[in-house]
Symmetry: C2
Subunit: 492 residues, 2 copies
């Protein structure tokens, strides 16, 4: 066997790390809390990024690029936003190193090169972008402004985990400007649906669309929409957020526009983002004790072909047959690799591609050639079937769709089986400690109760679903009246 993977039952957290590292997605780095995204992990991210980018462009957005650094005075302009991020900011204070006279070959920060104003490494870009928008927006004709940026951001988190929470991460951040509140709200909601569409249909991961409670809102937002997914250990994971920012940033940066009647008003804003964190969600939601299970639509490799042979003659015959097959598969857009590396045996390769989550494995041997067949193995269900080579490309094309759907269905069944109602605090605690998942419970609407529930159970309000039914009830903790259930869970 190739690499040892800790089982989920044994240690869920170690299982996750094993998959990320041994599955070649990412690696630790020399910088505290920062990771290296390895080629296989980055190819996955590229597929995700390209799909999202197309969805953004199809909804009228353009990409741009804004500076990595935010001068402190701009950073602090929107007070709530600044407060929310101040504790985790990497700060550039100097712009030069010099030789350290006390230590040959060493460098030291040059005290003469202190910046007049410190620069914050962007934890998010509202400040620098809204400062720029002030120059770009004068009239209603300049609106809406629909801009997205793919970038790296830094948040100096104390406890980090590969992909899920890293000091530096890659993301996209949309920043839009509108003439009316309604338009901005519609934009924030549209992007929530775009995210849900992507996560469900590309990542095969069902999500619940909702709104955050006030205390879980993005710092500086009037309203935060989110999509929440469920991992296999019963914990929730926030997979994306879309914020209606009201006029908060327009006021902080004095961005006004004149409307058709020549009246001046502050501009309305949204921002929305998803990050490399999604890769963590993908790994945790679908994989098993043998390794990753990647949905075909975003898998870097969709099909791997492994030859099984003795001697050069058999090999040559297999090569010829496979060459044809690879050409046919590439022609219909399948990402396929023929692994005829003779340094590794078939069994080792099987385990390796299982670990890497390649959706379909094709094995082809001398007997297969005689019978005009191959062996198809599905990564998700581990089913193996021997099938004719005739019509194989169509069959693979169909099977990739079937696997995509099947991975989604499995995650959906698990998720739906893990949304449970709690009507008493005892039920609530029992659910948190034993079953996990989302707990649908009444809440009295106060931040105080929310905080107490969090202290006692480590469960937070993940969201108030956007299509929530109104229902009279009593708060699961205080017994005070409530008009709707909200979803609680422990979360990543």
């Amino acid at each position: 066997m190739s690499k040892e993977i800790t089982s989920r039952a044994q240690d869920y957290s170690q299982w996750y790390n094993d998959l990320v590292i041994k599955g070649n997605l990412a690696d630790y780095s020399a910088v505290r809390g920062c990771m290296v995204i390895k080629p296989y992990g980055f190819a996955l991210w590229e597929n995700m990024r390209d799909a999202l980018d197309k969805m953004f462009k199809d909804t009228g957005h353009e990409n741009a690029y804004f500076p990595l650094f935010v001068p402190k005075s701009l950073f602090e302009a929107e007070e709530k936003n600044a407060e929310g991020f101040a504790k985790e900011c990497a700060v550039v204070t100097h712009y030069r190193l010099k030789s350290d006279p006390s230590k040959k070959g060493s460098l030291m920060v040059d005290p003469d090169a202190k910046l007049e104003e410190e620069l914050v490494v962007r934890p998010t870009s509202e400040a620098i972008i809204w400062h720029t928008y002030k120059n770009w927006i004068q009239s209603y004709r300049d609106l809406p402004l629909l801009i997205n940026q793919w970038a790296n951001v830094v948040r100096w988190e104390m406890r980090t985990r590969l992909f899920l929470r890293t000091a530096e991460f890659l993301w996209q951040e949309g920043h839009t400007a509108h003439a009316t509140s309604q338009e901005a709200v519609a934009e924030a909601e549209q992007m929530l649906h775009v995210y849900a569409d992507f996560v469900e249909n590309w990542m095969a991961l069902p999500v619940i669309k909702g709104v955050k409670s006030e205390s879980e809102r993005f710092a500086g937002a009037v309203n935060t929409y989110c999509i929440e997914a469920l991992m296999q250990d019963g914990k929730a994971l926030q997979a994306g957020t879309s914020h209606f920012l009201g006029q908060n940033f327009a006021k902080a940066f004095d961005v006004k526009f004149s409307d058709k009647e020549n009246k001046l008003d502050y501009v309305w804003a949204t921002s929305w983002g998803v990050s490399t964190r999604l890769i963590g969600a993908l790994v945790m939601a679908h994989s098993d004790d043998q390794g990753l299970i990647l949905p075909p639509r975003i898998a870097p490799l969709q099909v791997v072909i492994v030859p099984i042979y003795k001697g050069d003659e058999q090999k040559a015959k297999i090569d010829a047959r496979v060459k044809e097959l690879v050409t046919q598969l590439k022609a219909i857009g399948v990402r396929v690799k023929y692994d005829d590396n003779d340094n590794a045996r078939p069994g080792w390769k099987f385990a390796e591609y299982e670990l890497k989550g390649v959706p379909i494995r094709i094995a082809i041997g001398a007997r297969d050639l005689e019978n005009n067949t191959v062996e198809l193995a599905r990564r998700d269900t581990k089913e193996k079937t021997t099938v004719s080579i005739d019509g194989l490309t169509d069959r693979i094309s169909e099977l990739l769709k079937e696997i995509q759907q099947s991975i989604y269905n499995k995650a959906l069944s698990y998720r739906d089986a893990h949304i449970t109602r709690a009507d008493t605090w005892e039920e609530f605690e029992k659910l948190v400690n034993e079953k996990g998942g989302f707990i649908s419970a009444h809440w009295d609407g106060t931040a105080e109760t929310e905080t107490k529930i969090k202290e006692l159970s480590k469960a937070t309000i993940r969201c108030i679903p956007i299509d929530n039914e109104m229902e009279e009830g009593k708060c699961v903790f205080t017994g005070k009246p409530s008009t709707q259930r909200v979803l609680f869970a422990q979360a990543y």
Copy 2:
């Protein structure tokens, strides 16, 4: 008219800035030396990036992502590299801000959150990457390692110019590891050819492939290959570099591999990069006093269609005809826009798209509809022709290729007319001061002479062309013997 552009004759430098800013490519930002890349400029960069990315992948490279920060102790490990970049490093010293007690609403760097070791914002990533490669490379089976990264880097330059020299810029950096010196040299040369291919065939900009003199070499390289282009003011611009790093980084980071005979040796390395600086080259090389001239293969918009009409009835007829045309053009992959915005008059639009460098403009009016024609205008030559709508898509497809070639030919003629031999110091000085361009002259091979020539003329050795003829001669400055001519120029 729309926006005033300074002419080249009046002020070349201001002309460049006008094109970049009024042509909507980029804008100044609140951060010293950093720019904002606007949507139009970023769309251009995306086209360039995608073309390059495909070329990298076609030559076997994979993308990955490494941390933004380099701990100081790693940064200083390769001494020459560290020395070369130390003077322009942005340094993160703290990881938290806190409320400033002396000033309500203000933040200050929290002195309790000082990092134990300072972090350099990457000016280039050899150090962090080779530190990582140590864990990835054990055996010859792990080689070659062919990795590229698309990233932002920061070099705290004192004098900055939009695109040409900015404190933060976007680039790609390839970092490869090889078992032999020959393989690494071949890789460095291969990437030089890839860059030349891209710049010539996509950006329509002829380049000279060469090798840098020792003093112009990348800090830490054994040999630096480069491509050099010529701008319209007779100054050269380095458009891309590819470095053979020898075993310098492998030794600094102790990266060894065991070969087939189980002998340990240090790994051989290359690195290579091009950046958003290329956009500056593009602007300077091709544009005119009316605005940008963009080569069709990378232009964000290749064709713009402007309707000329009176009244809704005419407009409706034109719309119907154009809709058909747009569909046909999109079907063959042409990037086309129909600008029927009724807030601006045709004349204003014509000037605007001229400024933005859209290769082909189509105007269509009521008379055209009757005659089944349109007016085609080429941005590069400003030729206008009235042509039949029948077969228009083919004609446009051909014309785009013709324009691409024509822009290249024009730049090539200019460049070839500006490579001049100088055999005496008087000739050399006269050429630098009057004609500009590349000066082909003998040099005695010493850094001392190179420095003196630079001090007296501001001209540097741009490169020693890779296909250089050997020729006995005397150094243009010292009269000492020389075996070949090298290319001098003043440069950006």
